[in-house]
Amino acid sequence: MPQHERPSASPLLTIDDLGVVFGSGSKSVQALDGVSLEIGRGESFGMLGETGAGKSLTAWSAVGLLPFGAERVRGRIVYDGQELSGLSETEMRSLRGREIAIVLQNARGALSPTTRIGDQMAYAYRAHVACTKEEAYERALQGLRDVGIPDPKRRARGYAHELSLGMGQRVVIAMALLHDPKLLIADEPTSGLDVTIQAEVLDLLHELVRDKGTALWLITHDLGVIASYCDRAAVMFAGEVVERCSVDDLFRDPRHPYVKGLLDSRLPEGQAERLHIAGPPPDLTTRVPGCRFAYRCPWVEQQCRDAAPPLQELVRGHEARCWVAQQVAAGERRPPDRERPIAPEVRR
């Protein structure tokens, strides 16, 4: 499949060596440290990681919406050949929503509770396009129709609280796609939804971006979402990208021990050995000299504690941040024996 090639010479979005810090002095938290990624035009890019790994923060940084107290300390963000850090807030605003749109987890939270759905969609349209209210409203109705909402006219007169969760998420998607953006960022768009609704919403999202040629940046902690909808993926841990490759490679040939452990936690049937990587979240307030995953890594060596490994290309288009990644992949190292969970003795 051709879409698993690396993106062409000019990617749509390039993030290079991004660093974001919360607070200052001894209490500061290095939330993002040297995050680099590229998203090609029209590709589906997945971002995977556990809670607090910095997935959402990376996306928010990219569109200039850093949360309060966070500061970008280094790095470049280039969108469509344009360096974003030089832009004024006004220029950023004209980009957000029009060129780059965002779908958040909580649809009802993203919609205004007091404005009719059609009206708020029309406002969103008129924010970037000079047109009459009637034209904007027409566009809003068309948007609702595109996401398969039955009886859009009636729905447009309704309010957000009248929508089911799945329906709400469809409205938010319709709103995000009003301006035919080139990049759609979807941050955990379906967590908390039931499986049937999750599949429906993601199938729809996937279909729409494919038809319109929109690039999709899908942020999730769910391996199933990545496998089903993405071409390439980056895995984050403790504010760093630890592996970056095609989704095929990620599932078939993971190189970073964290990613290997993550794949082992999928609960396949009849699995005899599993790499155990669960542990407390990393402490981002202290800067460790070595690899940030070392404290949970089954393969850890002295080298890993002394120096932080760089994100290096192992084979074409497949990068991992690990000193022992080559050996891990070549099967030269087996997972170290660890105490298997033993059934407790029956004593009544």
Binding site: E50, V195, T196, V225, A227, F251, S265, R266, P341
Partner: protein, 363 residues
Amino acid sequence: MSERRTAADAARNNGRPADPAAPLVRVRALMRHFSLDRRHRVKAVDGVDLDIPKGTALGLVGESGSGKTTLGRCLLRLIDPSDGSIEFEGRELTDLGARDMRALRSRMQMVFQDPLGSLDPRQRVFSIVEEPLLLLTDADREERRRRVVEMIGHVRLSEAHLERYPHQLSGGQQQRVGIARALVTRPELCVLDEPTSALDWPVRAEILELLASLRVGFGLSYLVISHDLAAVRRVCDRIAVMYMGRIVEEGPTQALFARPAHPYTTALLSARLEPEVGARAARRRLGGDVPSPVAPPSGCRLHPRCPIAVEDCRRVPQELLPIAADHRVACMRVTGDDAIDWPPDWQPGGDLKLTDAREETGG
């Protein structure tokens, strides 16, 4: 093995031998209705039959609002059922008084959905795990300490954790504390409500492995309530699928995942996003949304959304009937254990839209 267990049961029942054939839990025609106002009631659980044989794990799956959690809570009488019968080791629970029920509580426990929210933020882990022993047993101080320490080891926490407060623990550790609290009285039945939601994948895998090993070690029976199909598949022997307050299919885990029979189960399983590249199965989509539980459809509750519904489905309520040994389905259109023919380009006609249901609610 089974002989030993039966002997142990007999000892616990004060010499009265339990019927070895009787399941640990037997639920018949269970109902729980909630009144909204004088005219409107939500039938959260509406006629459920199920058995949990000793030492087995039953998974209860279904979407939000299908009544899974209400059923689980009724089982332990955390809420009282409106009608029907619940037998625990052949003993009817629904007419037990508060005192008798309390005496049974140490033998049936629950692990709650939200690990942090279900732990008292002002108590240390030790007191949290000790509390059921204080309330439900007459163990003395030393005995309680011993049992708490032992149980905290079984859930793979260390004694150092006993002095911590819940907010000082990670999500996985909080869930382990919840499990320790439930198991410290050595119950025979444990109801687990969404034991792995809100956990990251590696932690989820560890919790599921822990639950599986505890079950073997303690000879526990589980009712696992979850919308995480992969999780119940891992832990449970049998699966029951709920839709709008009723069980629509019930069978052995392997058979049910390999050959779902009921149209609802088929649709539910086809919506899974398998964490494998290229594993995407054809979606089996139902029409429309789940109708309002205040005005459930007549006959089979799935009929307005079902691709294979016929006129009779609208009129005749469906009973759970066996299609194979140990595999029951509530669908008149399913006869053998062959997969149903899902019309490839099926479009729901005349479906109940959510709006319509809501308007009925309002009226």
